[in-house]
C-alpha cells in the first residue's frame, strides 16, 4: 500500500496555482462556454504555456475569429482581437508583420478554420508566419446551436443535416502537412498535461505552428466526438516517430479512427519576417548601388 498517492487538498492546490502566477494571465471575464466544455482546459494550457515560457502578458496578442472557440481572447488578460468569421489568420499576419516582438496566438474553431477561413490557411503556412494557430475541433457549430461542420463525421445528425451528414470530413492534419506548415501537432482537451506541453512547444517554435486540439462539445454532440469516445480512440504517437519525417507524419495523419496525439512534424526555416527583412536588405542594396 506504500504506493498510494498523497491526497491533494483543494486549498493547497489553489495555493499552488496562485503561486505559479498563471491565474494573472486569466481575465476577470467569466467564460461563456458550457460547463464541461473542453475549451476550459485549453485556457489553462495557454496560461501555463505563457507562464512557463515567461512571456510578458503585454507582449501577447490573441487573435480569433467567430465561434465558441473564438471567444477565447476575452478570457485572457493579454492584448486580444476578436475579428470576423474565418479571418483570424490574415489579421494575425498583419499584426505580426507590424510588430515582430509580439507573441501572436491565432485561435478558431473547425468551422472558422476549415469552412469560411479555409483559403487563408495554406498561405499563412507557406509564408511561415511566426504565429501559433490553435484550432479547437469539436466537429460541430456550437455558437449557432449545433450545425454540421467540415470536420463532422459521416452520418452525423444535426439541425442542418437532419438526414445525416453525407459529406466526408476534412483531414486538417493531412492538409497542414501538404500546406508546408513548419510545426504540426495534435492534442486532446481531455489530457490537460499533454495539451499544455504541446501548446508550450507550439508557441516556442519559431515559424507557423499548427496545433489541432480535439475537444468535445458536451451540449450539441452526445454521440460522436464525446469525452468517452475520444478517450477510447486517442493514442500517443509512437516514441520513435521522427518529427522530421514528413511521409511518416502523413501516414499517422491518415489514422482518423484512432487519432494519434503529439508532435507530427517540425522543420526550421525562415519566417515571413525573416524574408521581409531580407527584402529590405536587398532593396537598400539596390538603392545604394543606384545612388552610388
Amino acid at each position: 500500500m506504500g504506493n498510494l498517492r498523497q491526497p491533494v487538498y483543494l486549498e493547497e492546490k489553489l495555493e499552488q496555482v496562485r503561486e505559479s502566477g498563471r491565474l494573472n494571465i486569466r481575465s476577470k471575464a467569466l467564460p461563456t462556454w458550457c460547463p464541461g466544455c473542453g475549451y476550459f482546459s485549453i485556457v489553462d494550457g495557454v496560461t501555463m504555456a505563457i507562464n512557463q515560457l515567461q512571456i510578458n502578458q503585454k507582449d501577447v496578442t490573441v487573435v480569433s475569429g467567430i465561434g465558441c472557440a473564438s471567444r477565447f481572447p476575452f478570457f485572457l488578460d493579454t492584448y486580444g482581437f476578436h475579428t470576423l468569421h474565418g479571418r483570424t489568420l490574415p489579421v494575425a499576419t498583419g499584426i505580426k508583420v507590424a510588430n515582430d516582438d509580439l507573441t501572436v496566438l491565432a485561435i478558431g474553431g473547425d468551422g472558422d478554420a476549415f469552412a469560411i477561413g479555409g483559403a487563408h490557411i495554406p498561405h499563412a503556412a507557406r509564408r511561415n508566419v511566426d504565429i501559433t494557430y490553435m484550432v479547437f475541433d469539436n466537429g460541430i457549430y456550437g455558437l449557432t446551436k449545433g450545425q454540421t461542420s467540415p470536420t463532422s463525421v459521416l452520418g452525423f445528425t444535426t439541425s442542418t443535416s437532419p438526414y445525416q451528414n453525407q459529406d466526408r470530413p476534412l483531414n486538417p492534419l493531412l492538409m497542414m502537412l501538404s500546406y508546408d506548415a513548419s510545426w504540426i501537432g495534435q492534442s486532446y482537451a481531455g489530457d490537460p498535461r499533454h495539451l499544455s506541453e504541446m501548446i508550450t512547444q507550439a508557441i516556442a517554435h519559431r515559424g507557423f505552428s499548427y496545433l489541432h486540439i480535439l475537444s468535445p462539445c458536451v451540449t450539441f454532440d452526445k454521440t460522436s466526438k464525446t469525452y468517452s469516445n475520444l478517450k477510447a480512440q486517442v493514442r500517443n504517437l509512437p516514441d520513435d516517430h521522427d518529427s522530421s519525417d514528413r511521409m511518416a507524419a502523413i501516414g499517422y495523419s491518415m489514422d482518423v479512427d484512432t487519432p494519434p496525439i503529439g508532435l507530427f512534424y517540425k522543420e526550421s526555416r525562415p519566417t515571413l519576417s525573416d524574408k521581409l527583412d531580407l527584402i529590405v536588405d536587398k532593396a537598400r542594396g539596390r538603392n545604394a548601388r543606384a545612388s552610388g
Binding site: 471575464a29 492584448y79 487563408h120
Partner: protein, 600 residues
C-alpha cells in the same frame, strides 16, 4: 517680344497605334520632354485589356503654360502609327489641326486604307517617311515612333535638348548603340520637320520657369498616392493585384522596403484588408489598394474596422462596373459602396481627390485621419485619375504628421485602461500591443468601454453616437481642403457640384461658360463621408440651378447630396468608360442658364 511672352501655350497631341507600335512609349517621351522643358502636362492613355494582340492604343497629351484641368475633346495633332486604328479618330482633330502619318507605310496598301484619304477639309496632312527614316537610321522599322516625334518637334520648333535627355534616359539600360541610333532617328526627322512648311498657327512659346520653393514633377494619380503614402510614413502594405490599382502596389513593392517598410501580396482582397487592419491594430501605418470588386470583398472587414475603432487606409480606384465590369475603363460608380458598403451603421471617412496633386494630399492625410479618428479611411480614385499624368507641385517640406494618434495622458496611465472610454471628442486614447498597462481586447461585437461584449440598448446607442460623432472632427482636419468653390462668387445662375476626377472637366466647362457670360460657379466635394453639409447647403442656396455631372448611371453622388438637401437639381450621368466630354457639361450649363433667364 511682348507678344511672345504673352503667348499662352495650349496644345494637345494624340498618338494612335497598335499595341507594339510604341504608341504609349512615344506619348511618354513627348510628355516627359514637355514637362522637362517646363510646361504643364496632362496626359491620359487608353489601351486594350489584352496583353498580346493588336489592340488599339491611344496616348493623349495636353501641354499648357498654366495647369489645365482636363483633356480637350479635340486635339491639335493626330500622330498615326497605325492608319486603320487612327482613321476613326481623324474627326477628333480640330479644324486646321494636323494629321501626321507615314507617307509610304508598306507597298501593298489598298486605296482607302491610308489615312491621307480620310482627312477632312481644313485638316493639314503631314506625310513623313517614318519607316524609311527609321530604316536608314536604326536599321529597322521599330523607331517609327521616334521618327514621328522628331518630325513633330522640328515642325513646331521645339527645343531638342529635353527630347534628347528623355530618349537617352529611356534607353539607358540598353546597349548604347540603341540610344545613339534613336537619337539619330530623332534628329534626322527633326531636320526634315524644320524644313517642312508649317501650315497651321500653333505657337509653343517658352514656358516660364517658376521657383516657388516647391518641386515640379510629372506623375500619375497612382504614383502620387505612392508618394503620399511614403511621405506619410507608411510602414506596412498588403494588396492583391487588380486593375487599375495594381501600380500602387507595384511601385510600393520597390520603394517601401528601401525605407524599411514591409509589403505583402496576400491571397485575396479579404486578407489584404484583414492584414491591414491587423497591422493598424498593432500600431503601424498600414494600407491596401484595390478597385470596386475588391472593395466589395472588403466591406465586412471595414465594418470591423469601424466597430473595433482600428485605423486603416484603403485606396480604391474605380473602374466600370458592376461585377467584373469594364476593367480598363473609367467610371465613378463605387461611391455607394465606399460610403455605405457593409453591415450595420458603419460610417467611415471617404476622400475623393479631384486631381493628381489631390491624390498625393488625400493619400497622406488619410493616414493622419485614420489614426486621429481611429477609423478606416477610403481614398476613392478612378482609372482616369489613377492613370493620367499631370505636372504637380509637391511641397519640399513633408506636409504630413508622423503620428496623429491620441495617447493616454500621464494621469490616465495610472488608472485601469478603458479602450473605449467616452470623451469630449468621442475619441478614446488608444494603446497598442506591447504597451505596458494598456491591455485590452477589441471585438466586432458591440461592447462597453472596456471592450467587453455588451448588447444593452443604452450601450449600443452611446457607442453608436461615439462612432458617428467622432468623425465630425474630420470636417475640420487641418491641412486638407475637403470642399472648395470656384468661379463666380455670391449668387449665380448655375452651380456645378462635382466630385472625383470629373471635376477637371467641370472646371473647364465652367471657365468656357464664364467666358460666354454665364454667371456660374463650381464646387468640388473631396470628403464624401462625413459630407460637409453646411457649405454644400450654402452652395445650393447661392445657385439658382444646380448641375451634378458624374460618370455613373445611377447618379450616386447626386443621391448622396439629394438625401440631405431637399432643393431640386439636375443630374448629368454618363457611362462611356472614358472621361466625360467638357462639351456635354457645357451644353447642360447653357441650357440651365437659358432656363434661368427665361424664368426671370
Amino acid at each position: 517680344m511682348i507678344d511672345s511672352a504673352m503667348t499662352e501655350t495650349d496644345i494637345q497631341l494624340m498618338f494612335c497605334g497598335s499595341a507594339g507600335d510604341g504608341t504609349i512609349a512615344v506619348g511618354d517621351i513627348f510628355k516627359r520632354a514637355m514637362a522637362e522643358a517646363g510646361f504643364k502636362v496632362l496626359a491620359f492613355d487608353i489601351y486594350p485589356p489584352e496583353i498580346r494582340g493588336f489592340g488599339k492604343c491611344i496616348s493623349r497629351v495636353r501641354v499648357t503654360s498654366r495647369q489645365a484641368y482636363s483633356l480637350k475633346h479635340q486635339s491639335d495633332i493626330l500622330v498615326s502609327l497605325n492608319d486603320s486604328y487612327a482613321i476613326p479618330h481623324v474627326s477628333e482633330v480640330r479644324d486646321f489641326g494636323g494629321v501626321l502619318y507615314d507617307q509610304a507605310p508598306i507597298s501593298a496598301m489598298a486605296e482607302g486604307e491610308h489615312i491621307s484619304g480620310h482627312l477632312q477639309p481644313g485638316q493639314l496632312p503631314y506625310g513623313v517617311s517614318m519607316r524609311e527614316v527609321s530604316d536608314q537610321t536604326t536599321g529597322g522599322s521599330k523607331a517609327k515612333n521616334i521618327v514621328a516625334l522628331g518630325f513633330l518637334a522640328g515642325l513646331y520648333d521645339m527645343q531638342r535638348e529635353p527630347f534628347h535627355q528623355i530618349i537617352r534616359d529611356k534607353f539607358k539600360h540598353k546597349d548604347p548603340i540603341i540610344s545613339e541610333s534613336n537619337l539619330l532617328a530623332f534628329d534626322t526627322a527633326y531636320d526634315e520637320g524644320v524644313s517642312t512648311f508649317r501650315l497651321d498657327f500653333i505657337e509653343l512659346g517658352t514656358p516660364e520657369r517658376q521657383d516657388i520653393g516647391s518641386k515640379v514633377q510629372m506623375m500619375t494619380g497612382n504614383a502620387a498616392v505612392v508618394r503620399g503614402c511614403l511621405d506619410a510614413g507608411l510602414e506596412t502594405f498588403f494588396g492583391y493585384p487588380i486593375t487599375p490599382a495594381t501600380s500602387i502596389m507595384e511601385d510600393l513593392a520597390t520603394d517601401l522596403p528601401m525605407r524599411g517598410g514591409r509589403l505583402l501580396q496576400t491571397e485575396d482582397e479579404i486578407s489584404a484588408i484583414a492584414a491591414t487592419i491587423g497591422a493598424g491594430y498593432a500600431g503601424a501605418r498600414a494600407a491596401t489598394a484595390t478597385s470596386g470588386p475588391g472593395l466589395a470583398l472588403m466591406v465586412e472587414m471595414l465594418g470591423l474596422g469601424v466597430m473595433a475603432e482600428v485605423p486603416s487606409v484603403i485606396f480604391c480606384s474605380q473602374r466600370g462596373g458592376p461585377s467584373t465590369g469594364m476593367p480598363t475603363k473609367t467610371e465613378q460608380s463605387d461611391l455607394h459602396l465606399a460610403v455605405f458598403g457593409g453591415a450595420g451603421d458603419a460610417q467611415r471617412i471617404v476622400l475623393a481627390p479631384t486631381n493628381v496633386e489631390g491624390a498625393y494630399k488625400c493619400a497622406g492625410k488619410a493616414f493622419e485621419m485614420a489614426e486621429r479618428y481611429q477609423t478606416p479611411v477610403i481614398v476613392l480614385l478612378d482609372l482616369y485619375l489613377s492613370n493620367r499624368y499631370e505636372t504637380v507641385i509637391l511641397p519640399r517640406q513633408n506636409p504630413f504628421e508622423a503620428d496623429s494618434s491620441k495617447k493616454r495622458s500621464h494621469q490616465e496611465r495610472g488608472v485601469p485602461y478603458h479602450r473605449f472610454s467616452f470623451t469630449d471628442d468621442n475619441v478614446s486614447p488608444r494603446t497598442v500591443p506591447g504597451e505596458e498597462g494598456g491591455i485590452h481586447t477589441v471585438t466586432g461585437l458591440e461592447h462597453n468601454e472596456l471592450g467587453r461584449p455588451n448588447d444593452q440598448p443604452d450601450m449600443h446607442l452611446k457607442m453608436s453616437e461615439k462612432r458617428h460623432n467622432k468623425l465630425l472632427g474630420a470636417l475640420d482636419h487641418p491641412g486638407i481642403t475637403i470642399q472648395k468653390r470656384f468661379g463666380d462668387e455670391g449668387k449665380v445662375d448655375v452651380g456645378i457640384l462635382g466630385w472625383g476626377s470629373t471635376f477637371g472637366e467641370i472646371l473647364e466647362a465652367m471657365l468656357v461658360a464664364q467666358d460666354e457670360g454665364i454667371s456660374c460657379s463650381a464646387m468640388k466635394v473631396v470628403m464624401l463621408s462625413p459630407l460637409p453639409l453646411q457649405p454644400v447647403q450654402e452652395f445650393f442656396s447661392d445657385c439658382r440651378e444646380i448641375l451634378i455631372p458624374e460618370l455613373n448611371y445611377e447618379g450616386q453622388f447626386a443621391n448622396l447630396v439629394g438625401s440631405a438637401i431637399s432643393k431640386p437639381f439636375t443630374r448629368l450621368n454618363r457611362v462611356p468608360g472614358v472621361p466625360m466630354r467638357v462639351a456635354d457639361i457645357l451644353d447642360e450649363i447653357r441650357r440651365l442658364a437659358a432656363q434661368v433667364k427665361s424664368a426671370a
